[in-house]
């Protein structure tokens, strides 16, 4: 099809660090902005560990500037947080916590899903 500007969901389901692909998701999301797509980050499952604010940014330096330059929505599954006993104040500020309805909307409203 012709090039179309899109709503893109970048879904992070993998743990950070052990496999670095979790962080590569940020790069992909920022890349979307370059072509005027509208990306939304969604952390689910063990992907939510990437939002712990006590995380040490040194090993992910390569991605930190990317993370800081991302101004799309950053969202996380309430259920995935709860299943792991992660409270709201353990994660970075400004992350939107989505309930079941918000998760459904994320899949429905975004046209393309990219998964890391």
């Amino acid at each position: 099809m012709e090039f179309t500007e899109r709503k893109v969901l970048v879904l992070i389901r993998s743990r950070p660090f052990g496999k670095i692909i979790n962080f590569e998701g940020w790069r992909a999301a920022v890349g979307m902005i370059g072509m005027d797509h509208e990306p939304q980050m969604l952390f689910m499952g063990d992907g939510v560990y990437a939002l712990l604010k006590n995380m040490d940014a040194k090993p992910i330096m390569m991605f930190k500037s990317t993370y800081e330059s991302f101004d799309g929505r950053i969202t996380v599954s309430k259920r995935s947080l709860e299943e792991r006993g992660i409270s709201d104040d353990e994660i970075f500020e400004g992350v939107e916590i989505l309930d079941e309805n918000g998760i459904a909307k994320a899949f429905i409203e975004n046209e393309v899903v990219i998964t890391f």
């Binding site: 879904l11 389901r13 998964t115």
Partner: protein
């Protein structure tokens, strides 16, 4: 919209994605390939979920057979070949979600 949820890694839970879309009245089905096919195997800790979820399940025939698990499936999945898989992805469903 009809959603096809693609699972290829391992027998991991798809409860959250499937339940949230079902509650939002969306039509969904699973497409299992590679190690994702183990989700159908009775030895997978999450395979019991498939009965609860009550969604249509497709699986790539080759990947079920090469693993030797055809006789061990917890629910009757619809086995497809690559041609069938392309039809599902491109025509029968509107969107693919890689889990």
């Amino acid at each position: 919209m009809k959603y096809l949820i693609w699972l290829s890694h391992e027998c991991e839970t798809l409860r959250e994605i499937t339940e949230s879309l079902k509650k939002a009245n969306q039509e969904i089905a699973l497409l299992l390939v590679q190690d994702g096919t183990y989700l159908l195997d009775k030895g997978c800790p999450h395979s019991a979920e498939l009965k609860d979820l009550a969604v249509k399940v497709y699986a790539l025939k080759d990947h079920i057979e090469e693993r030797g698990i055809s006789d061990r499936l917890v629910i009757p999945a619809e086995l497809v070949d690559y041609s069938g898989m392309v039809d599902l992805i491109m025509e029968q469903y509107d969107k693919v979600i890689t889990a």
